[in-house]
Symmetry: C2
DNA sequence: TTGTACGCGTTATCAG
DNA sequence: CTGATAACGCGTACAA
């Protein structure tokens, strides 16, 4: 094993094995056309030299695009899991994934530029937190390759989008509480997060469906345990509580339950709480709250389906909503306490 | 704006602008040598055609390697933050980042292969959870480029590694408890996680330093809230508790505190608890526990320093330990309850 | 400013 | 069927 300063090229391997470059190529591409003896010699020479085909040169030459570009922020485990699944699915079809991370200071467009410069075959934006306009612009600048926004509510021409049907999910959650007899139901909203909008809309319309519009209230919260805890403290300080709270997601629900329980407000006796996502923590014995599942597998396979179709030349299908996962009923929900609202809370 | 099936190349731009390809190149590289009039015309032609330089061809031609390969699992926010910082630091120096995700089913070596095929200038492995041997093999197969393991305890020739000094940190944590008067101190170990070893070693030696070896105990736990909660339940079931518990990390501490508090064990009156990392959640009002900070910024800048040096030709420096961040004392630690061990716990 | 060789591998085309 | 020769993909670099 040598460690050359300049890495070995195909030419080096060919010279060492005493064959032509094209023969080395046939061997490394795994296509038939080389005698076992030569194949062996070439492989040996390559191993000796630590040769590894140059991916850039490979891609450059072959006219087919075999790379799928993926952007994500990598702050949500669920999104990272999607990449994992995408890896498997695309690999199976002979594609490679190229990943670009976007951050607070690094826009999606910026991340996608790297991918586009690599001449990727398609772009998958996972949970893009950019304004609609920016995504549409990106799609226009992408030279006509398929652009798919996963886990994003977006209805724009030329861009495919896949998202859980938040409104249907909210209908299930609110329906569950309404059936238990709740009327004063508040919503701890994912204020400030892009995907909060469809969910909020779902809450509002679900309350209307059950004739509870007057009794509902939307409280700005956020998407983290921290923000859930903060909004719970605010509620306690304010001294007024509903009989049930719908949380923007499970982390917010965790924060709510934590602060309520410690503040002397019993769950579900004093207040019922439901989350959204069914993250592993929601099943913890000391939390154990009702929530609705986000089936990331379904979402991912839908994304893959769209990807395959679009790569095959099918036109964009716009926004697709996935049916929500099942409601997981646990011990954070029950019938409301008699007497309606709690006015005064023991600090 | 046209949307060509085959993307425009430099040749197309040159033809449209009525100049040579070389001139287009000089304009797009931003080097002087084109008249304002031609520059303008070229830029216009490029915009008309939606031209974007092919990154692969660019890299292939220019003999300098300008890409830093990064692998990570993206399950830890802290690691993702490191990538963000790396982006800024390397960009400043004219490098680009190429990211490959490793997963449970996708080894680091596999991820690195993609990067190596791109002929990256160096490899940064962020928190690699692979056996030492695999990383050493990878470094050997990398053709002599710098390989740096960030947030990883690894003492192997040819590989640079940077890691918080876990032993020093443990010494601080155990010292804090010992000074408060604790003697029966248990450690909820990050069993199964690669980086658990130095931390466990640190606990054991710190206990020895304080002459408490006999009183210490290492309990297998894990690295998540869930696992912290589980080990706390086990302790409660067992009915025997120390006066203080050191958690492998903050998530484990969260789980411990949650279950203890709900189980009627008061923190810190009955048992003191310390975490490790100082994640945002540790400061939540209802948790508010003592922990030690992981200064990811320091770690990252050290990684960048090493990267720069090694790219400049300096030899590998092996393992480097960073001094631990400050101890953040909050309300989860106090003097031990009188009377030593708690034998029986109210369920 | 332009011509042209070159980077590294792939893909016809052609010879034995 | 096995193998070699040469053109090509898209930009860059250096001489003219």
């Amino acid at each position: 094993m040598t460690t050359p300063r300049r890495p070995a090229t195909m030419r080096d391997v060919a010279a060492r094995a005493g064959v032509s470059r094209s023969l080395v190529s046939t061997v490394f591409r795994g296509v038939p056309g080389a005698s076992p003896a030569n194949r062996e010699r070439i492989l040996q020479a390559a191993a000796d030299l630590g040769y590894r085909p140059d991916g850039r040169a490979r891609q450059l030459r072959s006219s087919q695009r075999r790379v799928i570009g993926v952007t994500l922020t990598a702050t949500q485990p669920f999104h990272v899991a999607m990449v994992e699944a995408l890896h498997d699915a695309t690999e199976l079809r002979g594609y490679e994934l190229s990943i670009a991370l976007s951050t607070d200071t690094r826009t999606i467009a910026r991340a996608a530029d790297t991918l586009l410069a690599q001449r990727c075959a398609a772009l998958v934006l996972i949970g893009p937190s950019a304004p609609d306009e920016e995504i549409v612009d990106l799609a226009e600048a992408s030279g006509g390759i398929p652009v798919i926004a996963a886990d994003r509510f977006l209805d724009a021409p030329g861009v495919d989008a896949v998202r859980i049907d938040d409104e249907a999910a909210m209908l299930q959650l609110v329906g569950h509480l309404a059936h238990l007899g709740h009327k004063d139901i508040w919503y701890a909203d994912g204020a400030g997060y892009v995907s909060a909008e469809p969910r909020r809309r779902g809450f509002v319309s679900a309350m209307a469906v059950h004739g509870l519009s007057e009794r509902g209230r939307v409280i700005p919260a956020g998407a983290t345990l921290r923000e859930g805890a903060a909004v719970a403290l605010t509620m306690l300080d304010h001294g007024e509580l509903p009989t049930a709270v719908v949380a923007y997601n499970d982390w917010v629900a965790c924060g709510l339950i934590d602060v309520f329980t410690r503040g002397g407000v019993r769950v579900p006796e004093d207040v019922s709480i439901v989350g959204f996502d069914n993250i592993p923590e929601s099943a913890l014995p000391h939390l154990d709250f009702t929530t609705i599942e986000q089936r990331s597998d379904d979402l991912t396979s839908r994304v893959v389906e769209i990807l395959v179709q679009r790569l095959a030349g099918a036109p964009s299908t716009g926004l697709q909503l996935m049916p929500p996962g099942p409601l997981v009923v646990r011990s954070s929900t029950s019938s409301p306490r008699p007497g309606g609202r709690l006015r005064s809370v023991a600090g």
